[in-house]
Amino acid sequence: MEDGTRKSGDLWSGLALAALGFYIIIQASQWEYLGPDGPGAGFFPLWYGVVILGLSVLLIVSHLRRAHDRGNPTDWSRLGRALSTWFSLAVAVALFKPLGFVISFALLTYFIVAVMYRRPLATAALVAVASAAGFYLVFDLALSVPLPVGMLGF
């Protein structure tokens, strides 16, 4: 399960890192390399950019040399659950501006409990409201840690 992801992942991550290395080299070459006062802003990034590019090419080549070894297939359902969690969190962050932390976090918790863990809707609602209220009481009121505020004022 992990093997399949990792083996094709070596190729894609190698390509992404090669692109990053190339980008770093292009950017760094626009900045001063060595000036009268010593190394410039481009000196260090240029060197690690070159190494990133070199190592990622090595990763791609070593993947291609053992391309026949396919490993096990990726478990898309597990991957899907992890990415759903990430996506729901991203939506919650996007909602901070209009709805504020408390409501967005309650919605996120409701989604995780009701949809991801398939608990009864009443349980999910109770957990969502209690957690959001707990965060508001502990962080905003007791510890004076600021929480993102929405259009409703909390």
């Binding site: 992801t5 990792r6 992942g9 070596d10 991550s13 890192l17 990053l20 770093i24 950017q27 900045w31 001063e32 060595l34 006062d37 010593g38 190394p39 410039g40 802003a41 000196f43 260090f44 990034p45 690690y48 950019g49 190494v51 990133i52 190592l55 990622s56 090595l58 990763l59 070593s62 597990r78 991957l79 659950r81 992890a82 969690t85 990430w86 969190l89 991203a90 919650a92 962050v93 901070f96 501006k97 932390f101 976090f105 996120l108 918790t109 995780i112 409990v113 991801m116 863990y117 398939r118 608990r119 957990v127 957690s131 965060f135 962080f139 510890l143 840690v145 600021p146 929480l147 993102p148």
Partner: protein
């Protein structure tokens, strides 16, 4: 005399009621975190770090260190009771600890784990107290070339022991260096890699990356499975937690072995408590007259690794506090914490901030006593933590992560960055890229670049300055040798064996 006076001052700091309270909070949280599989000290410390910004630095570092070593006490509980290690450092404890539990000796196994942790943890702090001041004095002679070489060596060691693929570990470290470069260059005021975003001019906050890569990624990995792995049966009615006199006699060498190996491995960047625990288990087995019984429930098979993973903490703090070089993801976060509070760990840290250093040392003695008291009679109570449904735990972690990041800058942009680094951390885990080198590269990146550029300014651009000074030449040669290890068959086999065990 100097050490004794420092320690007495340290106890005066650590025994202040507020600091005692934070020490207790730290070790308690650490124990809980250690018990919970899937939530580790780096993620917890990263999440809580922003909340310590308004605290007294002494109380804050005492609490964060308490989480660090407290987790190692807690990690043994699930290893012994359920064959599920709470922390990677407690994996080896499963071998004999779980077998002891199956034979009805769960109590003495838990008891010896707590006692060995206490003994070796205390020896580790003693080592830190005795070794750190002379190393700091020696490091006073270091200049920029030596610092660059030292950071390169530290990074190379972490890369060596971080993952099976050196190429991937190196790439992770280099990406960490790149993230550290984002923002305004302090030498020339050039803005670098900001993608035209004003918010990136001041750089990417360490906390955002650490929480994303550790906490968020950990939740994503754990949520891949729907089943609630935490809901495992906990044996009830644990009695006779104290080992017998014969048990203690059998563990004499294990206490010494765990203490010494743990401290030495801890002081080595990249070593870590997992390797320390495996090494001490291996040594214990090698010298034991009943080595063939190891793995069937031998009590010293629990004492040695549990001692080693606790003594490692003292060792790991030596390079962190005296040289400013962290050796693992967790100590990298502690370094960031100290920097954020306005301190500069390094040779001058002890002379400039004696109250903080000695306060931390003294608090670790106190914390170890607290942990012994907490872990002996209250183990059954702590085991109940495992009954907490995961659908309550994960939203809680996500919430604390978001609040932590937002509290640093009050910026929603940082929360977007958190999402990016959470996804990056998850992909790194799936694709077998270790996260510790990335965090270390990020923590050391700015310092490495500064040291390199200052060295070249000193030499008017000649790179030979790095190899013409004896200390930096030796350290850079070692760094190169370390990275060449995978090219030597036998040495690489040893490295891979150590990683597989870890």
């Amino acid at each position: 005399m100097e050490i004794l006076a420092g320690l007495l001052n340290g106890f005066a700091v650590a025994l202040e009621p507020a600091n005692l309270f934070w020490c207790f909070v730290g070790v308690l949280l650490g124990t809980v975190v250690g018990i919970l599989p899937g939530l580790g000290p780096p993620a917890t410390i990263a999440m809580l770090l922003p909340l310590t910004f308004n605290m007294n630095p002494a109380g804050a570092i005492i609490m964060l260190a308490g989480i660090y070593y407290g987790a190692k006490y807690g990690g043994s509980t699930t290893s012994i009771l359920m064959n599920v290690p709470g922390e990677s450092a407690s994996v080896v404890t499963c071998l004999d600890g779980y077998q002891m539990a199956r034979k009805g000796r769960a109590g003495p196994a838990l008891g010896i784990a707590a006692i060995a942790s206490f003994v070796a943890g205390t020896v580790g702090v003693l080592g830190l107290m005795l070794v750190a001041p002379p190393i700091a004095k020696f490091a006073l002679s270091f200049s920029s070339p030596e610092y660059f070489a030292l950071m390169s060596l530290g990074l190379a060691l972490v890369v060596l022991l971080a993952g099976r693929s050196i190429v991937k570990a190196l790439l992770a470290a280099l990406v960490g260096l790149w993230i550290a470069s984002v923002g305004t260059d302090l030498f020339s005021s050039t803005s670098r890699f900001t993608f035209g975003q004003m918010e990136l001019l001041s750089g990417i906050d360490f906390v955002v990356v650490a929480i994303g890569v550790f906490a968020l990624a950990e939740v994503m990995v754990n949520m891949e499975a729907r089943e609630e792995t935490q809901l495992l049966p906990v044996p009830k009615g644990l009695r006779n937690l104290l080992p017998t006199l014969q048990d203690l006699k059998d563990c004499r060498f294990a206490f010494v072995n765990g203490s010494v190996i743990g401290f030495l491995v801890g002081a080595l960047p990249g070593g870590g408590s997992t390797i320390a625990s495996f090494l001490s288990y291996g040594l214990e087995k090698a010298v034991s007259p009943r080595r063939e019984q190891f793995g069937t429930g031998v009590i010293e098979g629990v004492a040695a690794p549990e001692g080693a993973n606790n003594s490692e903490t003292g060792g790991a703090l030596v390079p962190l506090l005296t040289l400013g070089i962290p050796g693992s993801g967790t100590t990298a976060i502690l370094l960031a914490a100290l920097v954020l509070w306005g301190f500069k760990p390094g040779p001058l840290f002890i002379p400039e901030h004696p109250a903080l250093f000695w306060g931390l040392v003294a608090s670790m003695y106190i914390g170890n006593v607290m942990l012994l008291i907490l872990n002996l009679p209250l183990v059954p109570l702590f085991a109940q933590v495992l009954r907490m449904p995961v659908y309550l735990l994960y939203p809680l972690i996500l919430g604390v992560s978001m609040v932590g990041v937002y509290s640093v800058s009050g910026s929603l942009f940082d929360l977007l960055l958190l999402m990016v680094f959470g996804l990056l951390g998850y992909l790194m885990r799936k694709l077998d890229y270790p996260s510790a080198p990335l965090i270390l590269g990020l923590a050391l990146g700015a310092g490495m670049e500064r040291a390199l550029r200052q060295s070249l300014m000193m030499s008017e651009g000649k790179l030979s300055i790095l190899v013409s000074r004896p200390i930096s030449a030796v350290m850079l040669s070692l760094a190169v040798l370390v990275l060449l290890i995978p090219m030597f068959g036998k040495l690489n086999a040893w490295r891979l064996r150590a990683l597989e065990q870890g």
